[in-house]
């Protein structure tokens, strides 16, 4: 039977980032992908933010298959016929080229190839069906009848993670999941630039709230590729189950909204897609590792409030690779050693950002949308702040322990009717805290 140092399951952004980092560290790595090519099982739901990728592959723009450079983003609030648009231009960081749109089939395949070039062995058409276990310790993976032993298995196998479920780390709480239903629509690239008021080659992302998703706390998105538009709706799996919501219908309604219709009219369907994504609430630190196993990417619940899974996925993959390296040096792969993963994650802004995501998703998607002036200001502030986070992704920042502790642990025991008031208080405290840190309040006091 074969044995390698590390098996990474899933060649998405997290798995390939992990395998690429491991290969560069000289650790023997096998990267397994169930599709015939990396990326063909994946569905993007947002733009690709670049800071993490730039850290891994500084000159990626010369070769990566990218669509439009995005330095522009809108939050759109839809009534049944009317709409309100808040457009943000990211001028301050324009030179950093922070975001692109991309097709996952092209991008993920390119990225997996980078891992292979670095020395990882990439095997496609391989579905991991089970884990090899011995006395509760993960010893490798099973692919049908075949077995592959490894010192460490990294589960980067997405939202339905076979690795995470077989290792007993992931449970199926449906509140933690959203379904996204999406269409890619052919549209002439000049028409796109005209309708979205874009410079040539530039792209934008619309996040839309309200109609026709407001009754189920859902949201939707519309963004520009070179010669196509991507439009998608997202709704909670709990609402779908309990209220028989049909997201395909909602997508049709969205496309018929006068404003959205003016953007997508006369386009032609290129592809129809559906995918489950995380609702930004599953994250529990003890569920990220066990004896001989680590979870990263969507498998570990690493995704962002606006459904941005790629940068947190990549960064968690890199930190998983650091952990494997640490374990290899120590010659021990038990849970105690694997716990070092949390320490590596804490050295990035990732955990803080995921905490923010969770807070913002509750505010933006589930919060009260009435009261225009405050609302406009808050949304702009939150989006601006979250964009700042993208910039500082790789920098360690103060970690809001108290809030984190509350949301991760304490809230589970708080009765429903108390959750909202407590969240409001915590939100207020955290806004006060961040203003204090930035010196705003001190100035006023002087």
């Amino acid at each position: 039977m074969d044995k390698v140092q590390c098996v990474v399951v899933g060649a998405g952004p997290a798995g390939s980032a992990c395998a690429l980092s491991l290969a560069r560290k000289g650790i023997e790595t096998v990267l397994l992908e169930r599709g015939a090519h990396a990326g063909e099982k994946n569905v993007a739901s947002f733009v690709l933010f670049t800071p993490v990728l730039r850290n891994l592959i500084p000159d990626f723009e010369e070769e990566a298959p990218l669509e439009r450079l995005v330095d522009d983003q809108s939050s759109i609030y839809l009534g049944e016929k009317d709409f309100q648009q808040i457009r943000l231009r990211f001028q301050k960081h324009a030179d950093k080229r922070l975001a692109y749109t991309a097709y996952r089939r092209k991008f993920d395949a390119w990225f997996a190839e980078k891992a292979r070039e670095a020395g990882a062995e990439l095997l496609t058409n391989v579905l991991v069906t089970d884990l090899l276990m011995e006395n509760g310790r993960v010893m490798g993976v099973k692919v049908g009848e075949e077995e592959l032993q490894a010192d460490v298995v990294v589960g980067a196998d997405g939202i339905h993670t076979v690795v995470g479920r077989q290792a007993g780390l992931v449970s199926d709480d449906i509140r933690a999941y959203l379904l996204g239903v999406k269409e890619v629509l052919d549209l002439d690239s000049e028409l796109i630039e005209e309708r979205f008021q874009l410079e040539k080659g530039k792209g934008t992302v619309y996040e839309t709230f309200g109609y026709p998703m407001d009754d189920i706390d859902g949201a939707s998105t519309l963004y520009t590729n070179n010669d196509s538009l991507t439009i998608a709706v997202f709704g909670g799996v709990d609402a779908i189950k309990e209220r028989g919501v049909d997201l395909h219908d909602r997508l049709q309604q969205l496309k018929e909204h006068p404003f959205i219709h003016s953007l997508v009219k006369d386009s032609k369907l290129r592809e129809y897609q559906a995918h489950i994504i995380s609702n930004g609430g599953r994250m529990d630190l003890s569920d990220l590792y066990s004896d001989g196993v680590l979870l990263c990417g969507e498998a570990g619940g690493f995704s962002d409030y606006m459904y941005i899974g790629v940068p947190p996925g990549m960064l968690s993959g890199m930190m998983a690779a650091n952990t494997v390296e640490y374990a290899v040096r120590k010659g021990d792969y038990g849970a105690e050693t694997m716990r070092e993963y949390i320490a590596f994650l804490e050295k990035t802004a990732l955990l803080r950002m995921l905490y923010n995501s969770r807070r913002d998703s509750n505010y933006l998607v589930k919060g009260d949308r009435k009261g225009l002036p405050d609302h406009v200001r808050n949304v702009a502030e939150i989006i601006d702040e979250s964009f700042e986070d993208e910039v500082t992704y790789l920098n360690p920042e103060p970690y809001p322990m108290v809030q984190e502790f509350y949301f991760r642990i304490v809230e589970n025991w708080v009765p429903d009717f108390l959750r909202k008031p407590i969240r409001t208080i915590i939100k207020a405290l955290s806004l006060f805290g961040s203003a204090l840190r930035r010196g705003k309040i001190r100035k006023v006091m002087r």
Partner: protein, 96 residues
């Protein structure tokens, strides 16, 4: 009856699927007549679940599966045995 089934079927003609001869999702259909809400029918974005009124039974096609995994979570009777298709089979998103 699934709403707009025809529309969805038209959309599925734009999706590349490498169909395996084995079903990756198995439904214990004998349980379905007892299920009141049948949330799988509206939930499935590929309209793979439907109710055949004349025969009083559930129809399920794994062939058009988009592998979103929604049905894994929503069956009230745990009648759906869910897994991914074998490596290399199933949906191929060219523009995901």
């Amino acid at each position: 009856m699934k709403a707009h089934k025809k529309d969805i079927e038209d959309k599925l003609t734009k999706v590349t699927i490498n169909i395996d001869k084995e079903a990756h999702i198995v439904v214990k259909k004998e349980l379905c007549p007892d299920c009141e809400d049948k949330p799988c029918i509206p939930a499935c974005p590929a309209a793979n679940y439907d109710w055949e009124e004349s025969e009083g039974q559930l129809i399920f096609n794994y062939e058009g599966c988009l592998e979103c995994g929604t049905c894994r979570f929503i069956c009230p009777l745990d009648a759906i045995e869910w897994s991914y298709p074998r490596g290399g089979y199933g949906v191929v998103y060219l523009w995901g």
